[in-house]
Subunit: 236 residues, 2 copies
Amino acid sequence: MTEATRRERLRAETEREIRQAARALLVERGRDAVTLRAIARELGITAPALYRYYDSHDALLRQLCDDICADMAAVLYADLAADTSGHVGCQVRAVCRSFRRWALAHPQEFALVFASPRDPLDTDQFGSVFLQLAGRLIASNLVVKHADDEVPEVLHEDLARFQQVLIDAVSVHGVTIEDDVLNLGKIYHVVQSWVRLYGHVALEVFGRFPFAVSNPEPMFDSMLDHMLSEIGFADD
Amino acid sequence: MTEATRRERLRAETEREIRQAARALLVERGRDAVTLRAIARELGITAPALYRYYDSHDALLRQLCDDICADMAAVLYADLAADTSGHVGCQVRAVCRSFRRWALAHPQEFALVFASPRDPLDTDQFGSVFLQLAGRLIASNLVVKHADDEVPEVLHEDLARFQQVLIDAVSVHGVTIEDDVLNLGKIYHVVQSWVRLYGHVALEVFGRFPFAVSNPEPMFDSMLDHMLSEIGFADD
DNA sequence: CGGTTTTAGTGAACGGTGTTTACAAGAGTT
DNA sequence: AACTCTTGTAAACACCGTTCACTAAAACCG
């Protein structure tokens, strides 16, 4: 069965251990603790050996980002699947809550993936996760509600492109979106929802609300309510 | 006039140069380039000498954060003052735009101050800047519009405390807020506005919109419009 | 099988980092 | 002038990313 040679198996195993060690260091002692020497120490090898697996410390960190995104995606998908209500509104709510929960439980990972200046070109898995989830949820049965003329005309081009990206993303998985379900107005509100979701979660993770919030969860839920009703998921 | 001794003046000057060098390094070559040795090199001294001014590298970074906040505050206040329209809605818009402009022009600073995991205890100047600006603008003549019962009851306590903090913050500067102008519903919407403002700006700075936005400014302005109308600044 | 190539790992080295320590030299004080 | 306080230095320690020459073992091949 395993076509891999002995050497390939060992290499894959070592690579797995490297990622695992890097992740543990990030979680337990922060971004700056993810050093080549610390990772190597964990594996019982020397630092230069890691260059057989990654071109540089930077490349390893990028890999780490991708791993984090993949793991987060798995969590989000799982929590989405756990919602058996059949109501899209509930599903959206479940995913948003899942995102917040994940971010609060993994602040270092969140900071690395979602709050580091980076070139917009290099994309990790996050983009596709977002597209898959958003696309899937939108495609289901979102009530058509928003007129295109609500959104400024300058944005039409970008939003139309994003619309196409969304359609392509879900069509890869066999789902098709009818044109009347996904208009520009709706796309715009999806983006606005992402702004609010991300804004709240990041502020909470980074402790940047302008006052001490003793219990942020109801505030988040309240924000979600407004967000969902605004986007048309009011009584789903 | 200058009561300071010669030594005190020299010390203050050196400290100023340290901050200046640290800032330049952050701006030009990123957070990781702000090293004690690099700063010392810039001043023509040796690294251990910096320990006469700061307890550690970490303490220096914290000072850097405060400096950044102070500078940003100065920019925001200036842009606020530059708006001579007399309309509070225009002033809020001016400050929000100023915040976005500053963040885009200073991504490294923004990331350091607004997107680093930190203990919520240690507060830099940002909190007071926010309070001053928000308080001042709210105090002016915001149309009463939002009922308290819109906000979940669990939030009342936190929001009431924040309300008091706001009142105190502006009263220090001689401004008083009448009770009927600042109710919990309004406070809640102020917080929600901060969520959206921060969310958009951070997403733009970090390139984390789910698709390539070729021209984010109109999207920001559009968001601002919705935000202001929601908070009651519609036709000010 | 025997010889060759490919590979994963080592150890030493280079220049960089934060931090501590012992020490010098000047400024301020009495 | 003698003394103290302050600001700097140089040396050292342990850590960092990275390069390079080298070894030993695995894989390949005639």
